[in-house]
Amino acid sequence: MNIIYFLLPVALLLGLGFAAVFVIFSWRGQFDDLETPAHRILFDPEINQDVNPPKDLKGNTV
């Protein structure tokens, strides 16, 4: 049963960690608009090859 004295603080810390993350991102406005991004994600970007072509490690255009 002694394991509970280890697990309990761990569980509480985990909860605290999530709460902290939630508070930080709430302040940064992550949850200000929950509707529009859901729509925005539906549009495929129209890939424009000239603007930012993918490059390999040496900087050559693939």
């Binding site: 049963m1 569980a11 509480l12 709460a19 939630f22 709430s26 200000d32 729509h39 549009f43």
Partner: protein, 794 residues
């Protein structure tokens, strides 16, 4: 592909079903000229993908765009004084857009920088129906606004100051954090409590209880803070609101739990208290979110006192802001302009439409010496006026000011829920106190336990959560249908409505002149009429042009068309003079023709054709009036228009002689609807006082800023069919609320009885209370879901 298109026969732009007559005639793929115009613009700008996105992503917009306002002017958006109010840095403005509904709208609007060179970036918020636009340094907001208008999204710039947007955003984030913290705390407490309920004893149980108490601190101090504040405020005002028993329960619970903790007895209630806080915060958060979206429109900047006009000075003509216009200035008026001041015509002739002020449908000719009132719109001609009253002293400005005062003083119905809640709370607290006092001499602890159980179990959640939630759903469901409801009060007042008053012009009628009949000897003569009227902007000319085009008449070109009198034009060809003249004055003795406006086409003095014009009732008007009678709402018509015009219209719409009144001023309309359990349906400034005086004011189209100031409800769609829908929503909400009230009353009486008689422990109460709250919330949610359809039928 073809087969599919043929079988569905929808408008290619808005997707609404086309009337059979249009499809069988062949050819047209659009429901109206507005849709055709926007479709053309979209394909021109290479934005056809809009339609693919829209059709691929249900729900398809029921009506994604409005017909763009023709000749709408947005120059005021670049006015420095205006920018001061709407933009902190002069580069970023938020617009409220009418008609934004779906993914395709988001796609189209966020592409703004690609087809509008004035824009750096555009960010849409679908939930608020707003777009935030960042312009280039040399960009113009007027150009941006008119681009938005061209696509059919009517833009309304929003005020930007600390008091509105930022503040509400900060509050929203704060609420969310409170809710999140309460959730985390409650979740962890429940894990510990379950083991106590399951029978943990000894040292472990004691430690768990202490841990629970520790965890509950942030919930009871930080998260529950809004309840303490609100309860304190209401006690300061000598009132009992719903937060008072909540706070009493929390305090009593904390005190008794702390006592139990010290005494090492198992009767601690930290779990139930934090659960209570979490559930209450959650339902209030939901409610606030649903409601705040609609309050946005209150921030709309009014465009009456903004914009610029051309003023004559010693050095020529200069553009000045409307607010700088003073008495005795001379200003130029051009076609389509809204006149911002009262004054007298100094030079030139033209025609104005006074529809906003009087509801009169026909344009009026003005010439030197005529008096014009602010709020009228110039429909033709170029002329100048000498200002008599500056923009803040006009009759229109006074009406709007009185309206604002009136709307403010409007006695808010004391919600019957609020009233009941007050008595309920008082009763519960009194019973609790008397329980404690009763048991004090014999068994103090027993009295305290029973009182605590009573206070916890009878939490009036139906008043605090279920009713506002149902109201919120009603508002939301109305918004989905294009009906903006300003406050929940309006929904409650709709339940009790007995009289329904309609304005005539542009409410029951289309507000636009149209040719209702024409007579002519030779159809080829009509080409002269089209040639004369084709390029005129007068409403009469537009009506005749539309009519002739529908007959496929080819225009005869004239070179010297000139305007004579109201709606009259003349030109010459081959030594003949051709004229279109109003015949009203010529045939004054004929009673039938006097009702309508008649115009004749003359070649020298010989009649070639006559046209009968009228402002026709909307197709659905009769249907709506019959519906109102069925619902035992007494329909009546109020109009500022002349007696005979109103009489004819009343006859067509089936009003009896006692059910309509003509030649009314805005003030007399207000008197007519006051204190009569009335709903007023109208548009524009001339109905504004009536909106404020009526129990519920419903504005149909009209100008958004003027109407919304006084009206409680605004219909964004031109059709009156939204009105039965609105009432249906209100009645359904009423049913849901009464059902919840009945359940809650039954539960509270039963549970209260058990608590007082001592058959319910505080623990049992703490479990039952959230259960009953959940039942009521679920019931409210279910009836709300019925109101807000997830998918709009194609």
């Amino acid at each position: 592909m073809n087969a599919v298109q043929l079988s569905i026969s929808q408008c290619r732009h808005c997707g609404s079903k086309l009337p059979v007559s249009v499809t069988t005639a062949g050819g047209s793929e659009f429901c109206c000229s507005g849709c055709e115009y926007v479709f053309g613009l979209m394909t021109e700008s290479g934005l056809e993908r809009f339609y693919t996105i829209r059709n691929d992503n249900p729900p398809v917009c029921p009506m994604p765009v409005n017909e763009p306002i023709k000749n709408a002017k947005f120059e005021y958006c670049d006015d420095p004084e205006f920018l001061k109010k709407t933009s902190a840095d002069g580069r970023k403005v938020r617009f409220y857009l009418e008609g934004m509904n779906c993914s395709a709208c988001v796609w189209l609007l966020e592409k703004l920088p690609e087809y509008c060179s004035d824009v750096v970036s555009a960010r849409v918020n679908l939930a608020d129906s707003t777009i935030e636009v960042l312009r280039k340094d040399n960009g113009s907001f007027a150009a941006i606004a008119s681009q938005l208008n061209r696509f059919g999204y009517r833009p309304h710039p929003l005020r930007d100051d600390e008091s509105s947007h930022d503040l509400s955003l900060r509050e929203h984030r704060h609420d969310l954090i409170r809710l999140g913290v309460a959730g985390v705390v409650t979740g962890n407490i429940m894990i510990l409590s379950v083991s106590i309920y399951a029978g943990a004893t000894g040292a472990l149980a004691t430690q768990f209880q202490w841990l629970t108490a520790l965890l509950a601190i942030p919930s009871l101090v930080y998260c529950a803070w809004p309840f303490y504040r609100s309860a304190f405020k209401s006690l300061q005002n000598r009132r009992l609101n719903l937060d008072v028993p909540i706070v009493v329960a929390v305090f009593a619970g904390v005190v008794s739990s702390a006592w139990a903790l010290v005494e090492n007895s198992p009767a601690t209630y930290f779990d139930s208290l934090s659960m209570l806080v979490f559930l209450l915060l959650g339902s209030r958060f939901l409610l606030k979110r649903i409601q705040s979206r609609h309050l946005q429109s209150v921030n709309i900047e009014d465009d009456l006192l903004v914009g610029s006009v051309r003023r004559f000075t010693n050095h020529g003509i200069e553009n000045v802001s409307v607010t700088k216009i003073k008495k005795d200035d001379l200003i130029a008026i051009s076609e389509g302009q809204m006149i911002p001041v009262d004054g007298r015509v100094e030079s030139g002739t033209g025609a104005i439409s006074c529809a906003v002020m009087t509801g009169e449908s026909d344009p009026v000719t003005v010439s030197r010496g005529s008096r014009v009132e602010a709020g009228s719109r110039s429909v033709s001609g170029e002329w100048s006026i000498r200002v008599q009253n500056g923009p803040r002293e006009t009759r229109l400005a006074k009406i709007l000011k009185d309206t604002a005062v009136d709307a403010h003083a409007k006695t808010r119905v004391v919600h019957f829920a609020d009233k009941t809640a007050q008595y309920f709370v008082a009763l519960v607290l009194l019973t609790a106190v008397s329980l404690v006092l009763w048991f004090l001499p014999v068994h103090p602890r027993e009295g305290f336990v029973r009182a605590l159980a009573l206070v916890i179990v009878t939490c009036p959640c139906v008043f605090g959560m279920a009713i506002p939630l149902s109201m919120g759903f009603a508002i939301r469901s109305a918004t989905r249908r294009g009906i903006i409801i300003k406050t929940a009060d309006a929904v409650e007042k709709l339940w009790n409505a007995k009289n329904i008053f309609f304005d005539k012009t542009a409410t029951l009628t289309t507000g636009e002149l149209a040719v209702v009949s024409a007579s002519y000897e030779d159809v080829s003569d009509l080409r002269f009429a089209l040639g004369l009227e084709e390029n005129q902007s007068h409403p009469v000319a537009r009506a005749i042009t539309r009519y002739l085009r529908s007959l496929n008449v080819q225009a005869h070109p004239f070179h010297d068309v000139s305007m004579v009198r109201t709606g009259g034009v003349s030109a010459s060809h081959d030594g003949y003079s051709y004229k279109i003249l109003p015949l009203r004055w010529n045939s004054a003795n004929s009673t039938t023709t006097a009702i309508l406006s008649n115009f004749g086409l003359l070649k020298n003095d010989e009649f070639l054709a006559t046209f009968e014009l009228a402002d026709r009732p909307r197709i659905e008007s009769r249907e709506i009036i019959d519906w109102a009678r069925e619902q035992r709402l007494q329909p009546q018509m109020l109009s500022g228009d002349r007696e005979h015009v109103v009489r004819l219209c009343a006859h067509v719409l089936g009003f009896s002689t006692s059910e309509f009144r003509a030649e009314m001023t805005p003030e007399s309309k207000a008197e007519a609807v006051r204190n009569r359990a009335s709903v007023m349906i109208g548009d524009g400034a001339n109905d504004a006082p009536a909106f404020a005086a009526a129990d519920v004011g419903i504005a149909v189209r009209g100008s958004l800023d003027v109407s919304l100031r006084a009206a409680d409800i605004y219909l964004t769609k031109p059709s009156l069919r939204a009105i039965p829908e609105l009432f249906e929503i209100a009645y359904a909400t009423k049913r849901a609320i009464y059902r919840n009230l009945a359940f809650s009353a039954a539960f509270n009486i039963a549970a209260g009885f058990f608590a007082v008689s001592g058959h319910m422990t505080p623990l049992c109460a703490a479990i039952l209370m959230p259960l009953s709250s959940m039942t009521i919330l679920v019931s409210a949610l279910l009836s709300g879901r019925k109101l807000v359809p997830n998918e709009v039928a194609r």
